[in-house]
Structures are given as C-alpha cells and as structure tokens.
C-alpha cells in the first residue's frame, strides 16, 4: 500500500517537475509521453502499464540513453475520463512536446485521442488487444487484432483438443470492443456452419455484479444436447463476480469452458482461482511461458516494482516490444522526428518474451504468436495450444463483408489505412 502511494507520489512529482523544466532542456532530452489512467475505473489495469513504461525508460537511461541524450518519461493522468484523454494527449504533444506517446487501454479512449494525434502528427503506441477495424497513420497497434486472439481461440474450442464445441454463448460488456468482436465472431461462426439458434449473445453494463441470471441462462442454453462454449469479452472488474458466480453455481470448465479475451494474470490476481481451473484465455503472452527473455523481464519487473508477488501480463509485453522497436527505429532514423521514425518502424523486428520474433507490418500491426492457456490454481495460465509461427495482425477483418474489401498499408503505393485500391495506383501502372 505504502509503496503504491510512494510510486504515485513519485510519478506525480515527476510529471510536475517535467512540466516546469519542459522548455528549458528540450534539446538535450528525448521525451516519452505516458497516457494511462492513474485514477478512476481503469486505474486497476492502466497503473501497471505506467509503471512498465517508467521501468523501460529507466532501463534505457541506464544503458546510456538514446542518440546520446537522456530519455525522460512525461506522465499525465487522464483519470479514466474519455474526453480528458484527448485533452491530455494535446497537452503532451503541444505543451510538453513529447516525441512519442505510449498509452490508452479502452477502445473508447483510443477513439477519443485519434483526431488529436492525427491533427498534431504525433505517434501513439497502443498496447491492448482490440476490435480492429481501424488503422491510423499515427498509431502503432502492438496489442492483438481479432485474428490474433478471438478467431484462433474459437478455432481451438472447435477442434478435437478444445472439446468440439457446437453451441456458442457470446458474453460481453456493452461497448464498442465486445460488440465489434462479437460481430466478427458471429460472422466467423456462421461461415463455419453454426446455426443462428446455436448462438446466444448477451451484453451487460460496465461493473455488472449480479451474474446469477446470466449464468443460469448459460447453463440452460448449454443443456440442449450439444457441447457449449462461452466466449467472454467481459471487461474490467465485472469479471471477478462473473467467475465467482461460475464457481458458486458449480460450472466446471470441462462442461462449459469459458474463453476470455480481457482476463489476464493481473485480473486473476485478486481471485481464488481453484474453481476456475480449466477456463481459458487467449493472449500473445503468458507470464508462465518458459523463455530466457521472459525470465529476465519478470526479474527486472520485480526488482523495479519491489514486490515479488506482482504479475506480468500481455499489454506489458506489448509495451515492451513497442518501446524497444521505437528505440531501434529512432536509432536507425537518427532522429525522433515522427515521419522519419514511422518509416523506420516498418519491418522492425524484436524478440517476443515467449520466443520467436515480432515484426511490425506496414498496416501498423504486429506479427505475433497466439497462445491459448488454461487457468491454474495459482492464478497463472498453462499454455495448451499455440500457433506454430507468428500471425500477422489484420486491421480489417476478413469475416465482415464490408471490411474484408479494405486494405491498410502505409507504404507506397497504398499509403492508406482503409482503401479498396492504392492511393498512387496511377504511378505504378
């Protein structure tokens, strides 16, 4: 508790001091903006990412900084307030004149900063799995697109090892990410021959805590003679009472497995996971993966946060990869100038914490491996399936007819985030 208070205070002092000294030493430091909520509902998830960024910056400075300059993190608090995200982004770009911003968690906050970062030609690294259907010139998406998380998870549950599910319950929180993801999933399931009556869709508000009826409905839906699986896009702390209710009503993962896209090690940390063993999550990273890079990362994190019990999770890895790629791109370009760095980002490679190498594609999405894990009694995930190699993130889903036609490619001749044909078509013919 005390530690938290101290680190918060330190972060606050840091932000204030940088705000005052900003203009004076702009030339000899490189500034990295950190735009994560440190208060409000999303603080639960985002505070960790702020700490991750401070650790990465700290680490880089120990190694001698970047381009011979010291790197400085500018932390602001958008307080889980979506419009405030846009204001804080403007503050970072025009007052603090940061060279790059790492931030956001919810899709709605990302949509809120999008016009600002495009208007001021900033550079944002967005570290969280999301619904896709977007590609901005000024944003690099280091989290998973639906084809790197949702689709493989559903395919696994359809497979023999996953239990050959034939009936599907899509549960989600009522906002843009779950609704879009479920739209894609519904289209995918239909394309695999699943009938409409075998799909149940249900939405609940943020922070929903009374799951009795919905869990009872799921149980009823599952007793129709076909193997049933639940796909959960429930977000935030509503997951805790949801899983508690599953455990209390005695639903075992063997009977009705639940695969979640927003539940990671951090979310399970405050939960007795014994009744949840076997429920699944799909991510690009699990803390439990045995890899020497991962081991080193966890060690560094524990040393930085001074708590051996803290867990690591997927968005942290996304920031780790994103930040290191940005550092490489800056070194290559020899400047932090946004347009130069963006060009240098394409094709940038960096080792994943789970093995293999992540690649930044020209659609601003990463190629990463996909892992499916089962919850263990200790709150960790045990990988039960993973892709052979990496999967390229797809900005526009192939399963929604209107978006299947669209291409995102920010290099010549396309130079476009949502086109049906290259912008410079005439030049290549």
């Amino acid at each position: 508790m005390k530690k938290n208070l101290l680190s918060l205070a330190a972060a606050g002092a840091f932000a204030v001091s940088t705000a005052f000294s900003g203009a004076a030493n702009a030339a000899d430091t490189i500034k990295v903006g950190v735009l994560h909520s440190l208060s409000g509902t999303m603080a639960i998830s985002e505070t960790t990412l702020k700490d991750t960024m401070l650790m990465l910056v700290d680490d880089l400075n120990r190694k001698g900084g970047l381009l011979g300059k010291k790197v400085e993190a500018v932390v602001v608090d958008p307080a889980s307030n979506w419009p405030l995200f846009a204001e804080k982004m403007r503050e970072l770009l025009s007052v603090h004149k940061v060279d790059v911003v790492f931030g956001n968690w919810t899709s709605v906050s990302r949509k809120s900063v999008l016009p600002v970062v495009e208007e001021l030609n900033g550079l944002l690294f967005y570290p969280v799995q999301y619904e896709g259907e977007e590609s901005s010139r000024n944003v690099f998406y280091t989290g998973a697109a639906p084809n790197q998380q949702a689709i493989p998870a559903v395919k696994y549950l359809m497979s023999e090892d996953g239990g050959e599910a034939k009936r599907w319950v899509l549960l989600g929180t009522d906002y843009v990410y779950p609704r879009t993801t479920n739209k894609i999933l519904r289209a995918f399931l239909t394309s695999k021959g699943v009938a409409e009556k075998d799909i149940m869709e249900n939405y609940t508000p943020f922070g929903h805590s009374d799951w009795q009826t919905i869990v009872a409905e799921v149980k009823k839906f599952a007793s129709a003679g076909k193997k049933t699986a639940v796909v959960s896009t429930i977000n935030g702390d509503a997951n805790v009472p949801f899983y508690k209710e599953l455990g209390n009503q005695g639903i075992k993962a063997e009977d009705i497995p639940v695969v979640a896209f927003s539940v990671g090690e951090e979310e399970l940390a405050g939960l007795d996971t014994t009744p949840l063993v076997g429920h699944l999550a799909a991510w690009n990273y699990f803390m439990s993966v045995e890899d020497k890079n991962n081991e080193a990362f966890i060690k560094k994190w524990h040393a930085f946060i001074k708590d051996e019990k803290r867990v690591t999770n997927d968005p942290m890895e996304a920031h780790y990869i994103g930040f290191n790629m940005w550092v490489q791109a800056v070194k290559q370009a020899g400047t932090t100038q946004v347009d130069a760095v963006r060009q240098a980002m394409y094709g940038q490679k960096f080792p994943n914490l789970t093995g293999g190498v992540a690649v930044m594609n020209t659609n601003h999405h990463l190629s990463k491996p996909v892992l499916i894990g089962e919850i263990q009694p200790d709150g960790q995930f045990d990988t039960v399936w993973q892709t052979d190699g990496v999967v390229k993130g797809d900005a526009w889903s192939d399963f929604i007819p209107e978006s299947a036609k669209l291409t995102a490619d920010w290099t010549f001749p396309w130079v476009c985030g949502n086109c049906t044909e290259p912008k410079f078509k005439t030049l290549i013919n």
């Binding site: 639960i44 009795q212 009826t213 009872a216 702390d237 805790v240 209390n248 009503q249």
Partner: protein, 547 residues
C-alpha cells in the same frame, strides 16, 4: 495424501477387476510394475490424444495405484522430473515440492520447482480422467466419491461401465446415490443399448430425472435418432422434463430476485434512516458502504497474518468493526458538515457529493487503485443443487437472511428503545422534542451515525459478492435512492417491500430484455409510478408529512 487413499484405490481396482473378468478380457494378473511404469510415463505424452489413451490404459491396468495417480493428475499435481522424465505426485510446501513416486507410492524426498515440469492436462484430458476415475470409484466406500463417479459416468456413458454399475447398484445403501446410479445405468443403456426395448425402458427411467444433464442427454438423442420410435419417446420424455425445469427455473428467478432485493435492501436501509427519517440527501452514502467493505479487508488481513486458522470467523468480527468505522465517519460528517446545512438540501447534496469524491480518493491513496481481495469463509462458499438445475448459492442465501436480520434489528431499535423514541420525536417535531429536554443535536448525530453504521455493515455483506474497489459505493447510490423513494420515504417496511419488488421484477425481466434493458425498464416503471404516487408505495400520513 497419496498413502491415505490406497484403500479406496484397492477397492476401485477390485471394481475394475470385476469389469475386466465379466467382460472376459485379459487377466488382470498380467500386469506387473514395469508395465505400469510405462503406462504412467505415457501420461506425459506430447499430444493430448496420446495422454487420453494413457489415461484409459492406466485405468484399465487394474493397478492398485491407478485411481490415486489419476486423481492427482486431475488435480494438476502430477509433475515430471526434468532430468529423467520420472513422474511424481507432488505437494507444495513453502518453496519446494514434496515428491511421492507415482508408480511405487514411495516417498521421494523434495525438489525445487525448477527441476520439475508439470504434466500438462487440458479440459479434454480432464473429462477423460474424470470418466475413468468414475469407473474406478463407483464402488468407493466414500459416498461423496460414489456420487461424483455416477455424475461423471452419466456425462460420458460407455458400455464398459455397465458391469461395475450393476455391482454398484446392488450394494448401494444410500437411497439418493442409488437413484443416481440407476439413472446413470439408464443413460449408459440409452447410449449403448443393443435393442430398441432397452433404449425405450431407459428413456422411461430417465423421464423421471429433471436435470440439465438429462435434458442434454435426451435432446442429443432426439437430434441423433431423428424420427423413429426412440426419438419420439425421447421427445415425449424431454417435454415432461422441460416442464419441470421451467418450474424450477421460475423458482430460481424468484430466488435471484430475492437475492438482488436483499442487496438493494442492505444498500438502502442505511439511507432509509439518513434520507428517509432525517431528510438528509447524503451522496456519500455509497462511500460509507465502501468503507465497510475495506474494513472487512483490513480485518481479514489481520486474520490472515495472525490467526489463519480462525479465518472463517473474520467476517463475523468485521461486522461490528465496519459498523464502528462507518458510524464514526458518519458522526464526523454530520458534526462537521451536514449540521451546518440543515434545511438547505441543494447545498447538502453538493457538499456530500464532493465528500464522496474525497473519500474515494482517500481510499485510493491508502489502499491503492487496484481491487482488494476479500475472501469468503468456507460456510459462505459453494452451493447446493436443490432440483431441476436450481442451485442455491450459499453466499446469496446468507445475504438474504442477513439483510432481513439487519432490518429486524433496526425496527427493534426504532420501536422498542428510548433512543428510537427520541429519534422519532426529533424528526417529527424538533422544537417540541427540544423543549422536552431531548438533546436534539446529539440525537441528530447519533441517528446519522446509525444510518452510516448500517451502511458499513452492508459493505461487509457486499464485499462477498462485489469487488472491493474505491468505486464500490458509486454502483449502489442510485439504486439506494431508487428503493427508498419507491418504497416511501420515512418508512422502513416500504424499503423492504420496495427492495424485494424491484429485485424480483428486475430478475424476471432480465432473461427476456437483457441486463441493460431490464434496468432501464425498471427505471421507467419507477418514474411512471412516482408520477402517480409521489410519496411512494407506503406514504406516511399525517402532519409530519406536510412540512
């Protein structure tokens, strides 16, 4: 733990022996330790498919340790040594694992986690293990194990289990488990029976069993058979089961409605005093609930570090503590802020709303922004299956009971104590009460403290079903006001009826309208209702109302 379980293991092996002998297959004597060694090593195969084969082979080996090994495998405590791949049953103790050789059952010392690799298991393998274990433990002396075994075999009916099932039915003494076993036999016969006669009899037997599992089984048969006599009989039985399930579904809805109602009641009853009786619009009421929840967390931390054995009692201890903490905050709020604002509702509203933000940030600074884990005592965890898929969850049942107890206690305080009398006197006619020698300022502070303390107690209960976070209170403030206004301001019975009515209506709407729309509909209904009856369900009558 491994050694304790050898007796059931041996008996289970006997059961398999019976199966094997009756089935006329290979002799169980052919197995020796080395073969079992190879079978157990097979559990660590790379693909899940081979693992399942190994599970079946281990179960069929008839080895006395088969059931033990499989049970440990199911629990995820089977590990392979990295150096040579030898399989061990493990028990974690501090930083190391205590090892027991899986094949021999001998103590094998201890090893650090780094030297071991978990034998992986997924849901599909777990189903296979549970089924195999079911076959092995149908004759277990432990009734709970026999019951679980019957359930496992029911879900994966297989002709190989029939002889063991017959033997189990013949010697079963517990009526409830015997019925379960007979139903399981029917399920096996329905799935694997050779003649239509057997299958039709099985359907007849199963039609008496109204559970989601039997519904799933029969629905599967209807889909698979398609149009013949068996499918028709199954469809007939299914219709009967559906009717029974629908009844229990309604019972479940009522229970869930009562449960939601009890949560609303707990959240609102403190407000029924501060807002209902005193007329203070306290927007920080939710934060007083939150403080109660955090008090529970602190008490539990103390129990965890100092008296881990008494953890089940922590929540009982937390109740008076939460009452005291929130009550003290309440009195401080009344003395410090609200008493200066009596008769100025708008200022009170703004001041207490600001206070709610302060309290939230205070808790966030002290305890951090992340949720805190509040554990459930063992007597509040788990559930009991009553019938027809209706599950009574213990935490919800306790909370319903608890909310009624709180209300009853409050009514006693109001009606039977001198303090209650003074409270009513002051709220009805302050000047007269004052001239009778009642210290009205003191009564105000105590009344507000009582309402706040009750909010804290509600926080203890809510910590069992909701997240303990700085935002906990915000979720309940609107609902609380809704209940008090709907029930009738100033009337505790109204609060009771209002809370349960809203809870049940909400839960009956939810399956049709969804959680979001159900809540909106309830709000619309309340708005319309308030238009008709501005004073709520049970309006106070008389002179007190007029001012």
């Amino acid at each position: 733990m491994a050694r304790i379980a050898t007796l059931p293991g041996r008996l289970a092996a006997l059961g398999v022996l019976l199966t094997v002998v009756l089935g006329g297959a290979l002799s169980a004597h052919a197995e020796d330790a080395r073969d079992f060694d190879a079978l157990v090593a097979g559990l660590n195969a790379k693909s899940f498919k081979s693992k399942i084969k190994a599970v079946d082979a281990v179960a069929a080996s008839g080895h006395e340790r088969a059931a033990d090994v499989l049970a440990v495998f199911l629990g995820g405590k089977l590990f392979a040594r990295r150096s040579d791949g030898r399989i061990f049953m493990t028990e974690r103790s501090g930083g190391v694992y205590l090892l027991t050789d899986a094949v021999t059952g001998a103590d094998a010392g201890q090893a650090p986690g780094k030297k071991l690799r978990k034998v992986r298991v997924n849901n599909r393998v777990r189903v296979a293990i549970r089924t195999a274990l079911g076959g092995l433990t149908l004759l277990s002396p432990d009734p709970a194990k026999r019951s679980a075994a019957a359930d496992a075999v029911f879900k994966s009916p297989n002709a190989g289990f029939l002889p063991t099932l017959e033997a189990a039915i013949a010697r079963e003494t517990v009526e409830k488990i015997k019925i379960k076993l007979i139903m399981t036999r029917a399920a096996v016969q329905l799935k694997t029976g050779k003649t239509d006669g057997i299958k039709l009899t099985a359907i007849g037997t199963l039609s008496d069993l109204a559970t989601p599992a039997s519904r799933a089984l029969l629905a599967g048969v209807v889909q698979a058979e398609g149009g013949n006599a068996i499918s028709e009989a199954a469809a007939g039985a299914l219709a009967g089961i559906e009717r029974k399930l629908a009844f229990w579904n309604a019972v479940g809805n009522i229970f869930q409605g009562l449960s939601l109602g009890s949560v609303l009641l707990l959240a609102a009853v403190g407000l029924a005093i501060t807002f209902g009786v005193m007329g203070v619009i306290n927007m920080a009421h939710g934060e007083l609930v939150m403080l109660g929840a955090y008090t529970t967390f602190v008490i539990q931390e103390i129990f965890r570090t100092h008296f881990p054995d008494l953890f089940d009692w922590s929540i009982i201890v937390a109740l008076p503590c939460a009452f005291a903490v929130s009550g003290a905050f309440g009195i401080a709020i009344e003395r410090g802020i609200i008493r200066h604002l009596y008769g100025r509702p708008l200022e009170t509203l703004l001041a207490t709303w600001g206070l709610s933000l302060v309290l939230q940030q205070l808790v966030r600074s002290v305890f951090g922004p992340t949720n805190r884990e509040v554990g459930s005592p063992s007597w509040m965890s788990g559930s009991m299956e009553i019938a027809g898929g209706f599950v009574l969850t213990f935490n919800r049942a306790w909370i319903i009971l608890f909310s009624l107890l709180v209300l009853a206690a409050l009514i006693v305080v109001f009606k039977k104590t001198a303090f209650g009398l003074q409270m009513r006197a002051v709220t009805q006619n302050r000047a007269m009460a004052g001239s009778m020698g009642i210290r009205t300022g003191w009564v105000d502070a105590m009344t507000f403290g009582l309402g706040a303390g009750i909010a804290g107690v509600a926080g203890v209960a809510l910590s069992q079903i909701d997240n303990v976070s700085p935002n906990l209170g915000q979720a309940y403030i609107i609902d609380s006001f809704m209940v008090v206004v709907f029930g009738g301001v100033g009337n505790l019975w109204g609060t009771l009826v209002g809370a349960f009515t809203l809870g049940i209506v909400n839960k009956f709407l939810e399956p049709f309208a969804g959680a979001v729309l159900a809540k909106i509909l309830v709000l619309v209904v309340i708005i319309l209702f308030i238009q008709k009856r501005p004073r709520g369900l049970f309006a106070l009558k008389g002179r007190a109302v007029e001012n």
